[in-house]
């Protein structure tokens, strides 16, 4: 069975381990389907993806003073921000609701479940 393999410079593909590979067609890469950006203006934000399966999701939040980006889920000790997904939507939930934090959510084609 044919395959496409690219190893790092000076490493033979014959001896390369997975960590030595730049690309290996034997594996499933994380393929970005959609990136959502917005402001958390309510306790639950619903983002429709319509993939009909639960996708792999990553999220980040811009929060704090001075503001910087953190990974989700995140808690600053007072406010908790989390996300979850079902076959139709991504939900970002913040408790208690803050003052308009910015989010970025990356949805992959890859299945999360």
């Amino acid at each position: 069975m044919s395959k496409l393999v690219i190893s790092k410079p000076n490493i033979s593909i014959e001896s390369a381990r997975p960590r030595d590979m730049v690309f290996d067609s034997n594996y499933n890469y994380i393929k970005i389907y959609k990136i959502f950006t917005g402001t958390i203006s309510s306790a639950t934000i619903t983002l429709s993806h319509n993939l009909n399966y639960v996708p792999l999701v990553f999220g980040w939040l811009k929060s704090g003073t001075p503001s910087s980006w953190v990974m989700l889920p995140y808690s600053d000790g007072t406010t908790k921000t989390v996300y979850d997904a079902d076959v139709t939507n991504i939900y970002i939930r913040q408790d208690p609701l803050g003052s308009g934090d910015t989010y970025v959510v990356a949805v992959a084609f890859n299945r999360g479940v």
């Binding site: 067609s25 994380i30 393929k31 990136i35 910087s68 980006w69 990356a106 084609f109």
Partner: protein, 142 residues
């Protein structure tokens, strides 16, 4: 326009007539793959006297023209830290050590913040090992 599509070996089909779900494809040139563009790994230590509190931070300039998406782990000598929800606690004798660690990113820097509260009667050195991966996804452009 040509495309490059790969199918992992365990998902290859005997019949070309059966459609394969895109979630099972290895690579599809119509879509951006999540690419790691930087990896940072190093250690930091905090010396905390008995009954004391110490915090420290390190800024690493990333020199990118955007704020990259990222993923991080911090492994503390008293136990692994969950990213962001990073409070851990270890019982040492009659008292406990409370530790925080976080990683944030902005347009200029990756910042690692660490703190340790040491109510024990012993001086301690806590060592943190951090692993930070920056991705090609833009959270914000300068």
């Amino acid at each position: 326009m040509g495309k490059i599509i790969t199918i992992p070996e365990d998902k290859r089909l005997l019949s070309d007539e059966t459609a394969i779900d895109i979630s099972q494809l290895g690579f599809h040139s119509d879509y951006q793959s999540l690419q790691i563009i930087r990896i940072y790994k190093s250690t930091l230590s905090l010396d905390v006297v008995a009954g004391g509190f110490v915090s420290d931070s390190r800024e690493i300039p990333h020199n990118l023209k955007f704020t990259p998406a990222f993923f991080s782990y911090i492994d503390a000598s008293i136990g692994p830290l969950v990213p962001n929800l990073s409070n851990i606690y270890q019982q040492l004798g009659a008292s406990g050590v409370f530790t925080n660690a976080s990683v944030t990113v902005d347009n200029n820097n990756v910042t690692i913040f660490l703190s340790t509260d040491n109510p024990t009667p012993d001086n301690i050195t806590e060592t943190f090992t951090y692993y930070i991966f920056l991705f090609s996804i833009e959270l914000e452009r300068i």
